[in-house]
Symmetry: C2
Subunit: 366 residues, 2 copies
């Protein structure tokens, strides 16, 4: 019921929306593998429930979960959340799930299924294998009955930030990394974005944040809050290891123009304090040959950029950090018509290597 | 997204439709377990594809399949068929899937999830375990976003034939079998059918066909083709082992009246010739401790009653049998506005213990 479309989205008048545009739903997975999530997933699952509950206030939410965890997820989640069975290797639906494109003329939504190799495959990928994750996009489209395209490269939604008007913000360290698409040139990548996301101009940043295990996804560093309007993670502390990354991004974006020739307004949002795995946390994770092992003192990259913006809510991580409230106040100003909902204990997601944006896939449509 | 409703369908004005009523879709599983289906499921899968293709001419079709077989099923099935992942123990969706009830006032559809124990549990059930099958109904309702009831007994759709107007046709050998609901009385069963399917009158037959491994499901013996109109499997050969079953059913139905007080018109459809497993077929099935072992000479019960009637098609098994064409001609007369489609090699389903009705679950609705 979901046909694979052989043409390109551009040719069929489909485009990738901006994250602030109208959504028909949101997809998440479920944290359960005990070599990634501490306490057999039980700690992260509670946070997932709060995120699903918050987003369900705004649009319909679907949780994709293994058969083994199906009854448990169904029992933990509120009834308004849909639970569907899906086998996966882990739960990063922003990166492994279908992206959704819209046709403004017809109102139709279609899926876009990129290749996925767990952020680098055998050269720095975070777990092995990733075969089930790579099938998630197709399964999502089948359930929804949406036709879909197959994007001709390996990439992840978390590395791609769109304004919905032809501009893409991304990082070279991800897109041009030989562990995704060896030999792919910038021009070839731009052609693919042109054809498959209707992108007219790519704003390239050289890299993402340090300690970001994805090789530097844009979704910890910067995002569009509206066309020509950027939110950038920030610190004024020149000794902070992220400072040079933030400053470099600011410099580039401050001089850039978007696909429509507009200069960009840049809002800075102060980063949370640095986080590391504790010895106790590390002891609560299974050691296997299949997943990156995170030990006592392992640094993880927290960011308020890594939020989810729904039709009526903005769901943002909290880290029990003095910068939590200022971040939410700023998001409240930037999204005055949406309720800002902080998610306590978002550290549980951070320990797995990402945050709220990384685990949510917006389904655009009316 | 699919709430469990604590009241009863009767109280909420829902009723079980007749099989000839309007459908919104049809659900099937996928044959794959090598201890039930010969050649690792490959022979039966081809027949499944033809059935899905035939029904998809009439209404939307969803195939529920394990992750392991997902890509294979997707590749074999035509694009108009939806494929969703679902872990099951086997593929008998009529019996393990949700039944669907309708509310004629509101147009709403809701699911009905009975308990399932593989036709008898540890006392004559056909495989072990059946835990995944028992979750299929809930998963179907979740995918569709339909609220559902939990029926307070163990039973199977293949044992229940409705006229959609308050009459249920069923067999005592199934419903009152202590291997389903020990101690359940006829009166208690009738109360459950009253509450959960809006049944005002139950027409009890003592038993189903011989060699039917379900303890005698009605769906090999007799069905409603319209209110007050019955189709009955038949032979005039008094030496045939089924003769006494058919004659007994005829006797009872010929004297019965339905919930509205009408006498029943009975059409006889000649049964196919008896079938047994060959030695070659038996050699193509894995032997395990978990499934009933079917050996050379094992008798299976073929029936033309075991068809699927869709909005615009009647999909009926063929057995390479001289009675195939007369059966289809009769069905063409009984359903003059529907295309009768014969499915060759339906023997592949028969070897697993059922036929087209057994593997299809109609989803009623507009």
């Amino acid at each position: 019921m979901s046909k694979i479309v052989d043409s390109t989205p551009r040719a069929d008048q489909f485009r990738m929306p901006g994250e602030f545009e109208k959504k028909d739903g949101c997809w998440l997975g479920w944290p359960e593998r005990p070599d990634v999530w501490r306490n057999g997933g039980k700690s992260a699952q509670k946070v997932w429930v709060e995120i699903a509950r918050a987003i369900a206030k705004s649009e319909r939410v679907t949780i994709a979960v293994s058969h083994q965890q199906y009854a448990n997820a169904r029992a933990m989640l509120p009834p308004e959340v849909r639970v569907v069975e899906m086998s996966t290797n882990d739960a990063w639906f922003r990166d492994m799930g279908a992206m959704f494109l819209v046709n403004d003329e017809t109102g139709e939504t279609r899926g876009l299924d990129w290749g996925f190799n767990a952020w680098g495959g055998l050269e720095g990928g975070l777990y092995f294998p990733w075969d089930k994750d790579d099938m998630a996009a197709e399964k999502m489209c089948e359930i929804e009955g949406l036709d879909h395209y197959r994007g001709p490269m390996i990439t992840e939604g978390g590395g791609l930030q769109c304004d919905g008007q032809g501009t893409l913000l991304t990082t070279e360290s991800v897109i041009l990394n030989p562990n995704r698409n060896p030999g792919l040139s910038k021009q070839q990548a731009e052609q693919i974005f042109y054809d498959y996301m209707a992108i007219d101009k790519v704003l390239w940043l050289p890299r993402g944040c340090k300690f970001d295990e994805t090789d530097g996804h844009i979704d910890d560093l910067a995002c569009f809050v509206a066309p020509a309007e950027i939110l950038l993670s920030w610190t004024d502390d020149e000794n902070d290891p992220q400072y040079e990354v933030y400053a470099e991004a600011y410099e580039i974006l401050n001089q850039a123009t978007d696909a429509r020739g507009r200069s960009l307004t840049i809002h800075k949002i102060h980063q949370p304090n640095p986080a590391v795995w504790t010895a106790e946390e590390a002891s609560q994770v299974d050691i296997t040959a299949d997943a990156t092992q995170r030990l006592d003192g392992y640094k993880v990259m927290g960011s308020y950029i890594n939020y989810y913006v729904g039709n009526s809510v903005v769901v943002v991580p909290e880290f029990d950090d003095p910068y939590d409230q200022p971040a939410q106040q700023l998001l409240g100003k930037l999204f005055p018509n949406r309720e800002v909902i902080g998610i306590k204990n978002a550290r549980e997601i951070l320990l797995g290597g990402g945050n709220i944006a990384c685990i949510t896939q917006p389904q655009y449509g009316t």
